[in-house]
């Protein structure tokens, strides 16, 4: 699954665009990275892509195997139903739901959440339960049948919620911030497997450049609201613009 941006801009009151992408595509290379200094417009771009923020001009479209969907007219739940989901930079969660219920919520199709279903009884969906057990075996929570306690657990749960939703394309906004290193490694290993088996394409926004170099096949460099360079990690590392503007060399 690929995301296309055409003439995409976002400007707030001042009129100066915080993001300006004449033409760009994300998701062509399986696992991609998006890097850039603070204030470059990375989070704005993420928000625009998932329809959380409305663009000032331009279009975002999502290309899957058969169709090209223009996202502009859609609301964020429609975008998710097309298969595009984003993990959150800041900790987000449902405080009244246990870890399992939170995962069940993400895995359950909206078509099963009906008033009639209340009466006919919501027997457990074995496939979903097996899926949840699989994730909870792989990732250890202090109390897997209770609530996510620490910030790290909440962050991990946020990522697992997106995984169990089975998106076709996943945007990860600073996935490692707040996660212990061993969990990060396990998450990246899982992401790598999913990308390899063509279950999803992934774009990672991250400040941890080591992680980007290690895992991503392709890297986009964003600065001052524009994609200034993109290429393989090797090319990006060597690029003078990136070095000057970001890595401070």
């Amino acid at each position: 699954m690929k995301l296309h941006m055409q003439n995409l801009t976002k400007s707030y009151h001042s009129g100066h665009p915080v993001l300006n992408v004449p033409d760009g595509t994300l998701g062509e290379h399986g696992l991609e990275g998006l890097i850039g200094p603070n204030g470059a417009g990375k989070s704005t771009m993420m928000g625009l892509l998932t329809r959380r923020i409305a663009p000032s001009t331009g279009t975002v479209s999502l290309e899957d195997d058969t169709d090209l969907h223009t996202l502009n007219a859609l609301q964020s739940h429609d975008v998710a139903r097309l298969g595009l989901v984003k993990t959150n930079q800041r900790i987000q969660g449902f405080e009244s739901l246990t870890i399992r219920d939170s995962l069940r919520l993400a895995a359950t199709s909206h078509a099963d959440e009906t008033y009639r279903g209340v009466l006919t009884g919501s027997e457990q969906d074995d496939a979903i339960e097996a899926d949840i057990d699989g994730y909870l075996d792989r990732f250890k929570f202090e109390d897997p049948d209770g609530f996510a306690k620490s910030g790290g657990e909440k962050k991990l749960l946020d990522i697992l919620r997106c995984m169990i939703f089975k998106p076709k394309m996943l945007l990860m906004d600073e996935p490692t911030a707040g996660l212990p290193e061993d969990v990060t490694n396990e998450v990246m290993k899982m992401v790598g497997e999913k990308v390899k088996s063509k279950e999803m394409t992934v774009v990672i926004v991250e400040h941890d450049l080591e992680l980007i170099w290690k895992h991503c096949k392709y890297v986009h460099f964003l600065s001052e609201g524009a994609i200034l360079f993109h290429g393989t990690p090797k090319d990006v590392k060597k690029n003078r613009v990136v070095a000057e503007k970001y890595m401070g060399v």
Partner: protein
């Protein structure tokens, strides 16, 4: 006996309203402060259709419910995307509009003169009051069973998720606005149906029945009982309306000259109880995981304790007034 039946029927109406508010506020986080508007709309509309147009109760009820569903849907469309404070204001405004229209549209509602007589839906010899009570009871029990199942269902889980973090739920493919709009329309319409049933119960309608204190009574009950528990609203109504309005106002041994004080004391105790609950148990008497067994034990204990406390308190107060009266008499004599 007839009065007790009336009181108990009214109690069931309040339980029904609290159940609906539980779905709106407890599960979905929609602060509907216009409960009396939806209830009053149903009550007056059924009354007007029956008295002015001689419609049968059932026809009047169906027509009123359809109309209220359309209105609630439209209102929901306007307000459910807004912040909670805005929803609160809008629903208060809705109930104010309903109350105002009832006073001004005299051609239909008879204004402050009052509208009557509304007959019971089922007329069977002398048993119509009891039958009406049974209808209400069945209604409330049915709603309660549905609510308990809702809490364990996928839809219930989705509602709670929307209350906790709507944006996050939407990012997981949930059409949160649609879920809220549907639930609001359904529950607001049921509030109107409870209003229609109350019309028959009251038989004679006057605009001073459509007062905000009904909204507040339902809210106090829900918050007191526990807004996130399926039984919270019901327990809350039993404690407030059941103990204070029915038991004390009707049966507590208060001497006639001081009976006039009882409503004020009642309000004072409502307030004191609410403050105590909010201070020491902000989730209400039942939190979302309270087990049924604990509820039974707890509520029996609470009922016993509060009856004892209130009766003792009232008799002390009564004694106090008596001694005051006696002293005054003594002074007069002297």
């Amino acid at each position: 006996m007839a009065y007790l039946l009336f009181s108990l029927s009214l109690l069931l109406v309040y339980v029904g309203l609290a159940q609906m508010l539980h779905v709106q506020f407890g599960l979905l986080g929609i602060p509907n402060f216009g409960v009396v508007g939806f209830w009053g709309f149903g009550m007056y509309f059924v009354g007007v259709l029956q008295v002015q147009l001689s419609m049968s109760f059932i026809d009047a009820m169906v027509l009123s419910s359809v109309l209220l569903a359309v209105i609630s849907y439209g209102l929901g469309h306007l307000i459910l995307r807004l912040e909670r404070q805005a929803i609160l204001c809008a629903t208060i405004a809705f109930s104010a509009i309903v109350a105002l229209l009832i006073v001004t549209e005299k051609w239909a509602t008879m204004g402050v003169v009052g509208l009557g007589t509304i007959r019971y839906p089922l007329r069977v010899f002398e048993a119509e009051e009891i039958l009406h009570f049974v209808i209400l009871l069945a209604f409330v029990i049915g709603a309660q069973i549905y609510l308990m199942r809702l809490h364990k269902s996928r839809l219930g889980r989705l509602m709670v998720a929307i209350r906790d973090n709507e944006e996050l739920a939407a990012s997981l493919g949930k059409d949160t606005f649609r879920v809220k709009l549907r639930a609001f329309t359904i529950t607001a319409t049921i509030m109107g149906i409870l209003g229609g049933l109350s019309a028959a119960l009251n038989q004679f309608l006057t605009p001073n029945m459509i007062v905000p204190s009904i909204t507040f009574a339902v809210w106090i009950s829900l918050v007191l009982g526990g807004k996130e528990h399926a039984l919270g609203g019901m327990i809350g109504v039993f404690i407030t309306f059941g103990i204070f309005d029915i038991f004390i106002e009707t049966y507590a041994p208060v001497s006639p000259e001081f009976a006039v004080l009882v409503p004020n004391i009642k309000l004072f105790l409502y307030g004191a109880l609410l403050v105590a609950v909010l201070l020491y148990r902000p989730t209400g008497l039942l939190d979302r995981d309270t087990e049924p067994r604990d509820i039974l034990i707890g509520s029996l204990g609470a009922i016993a304790a509060s009856i004892t406390a209130v009766v003792t308190g009232l008799s002390w107060i009564a004694k106090g007034f008596e001694s005051l009266a006696a002293r005054a008499k003594k002074d007069d004599d002297a």
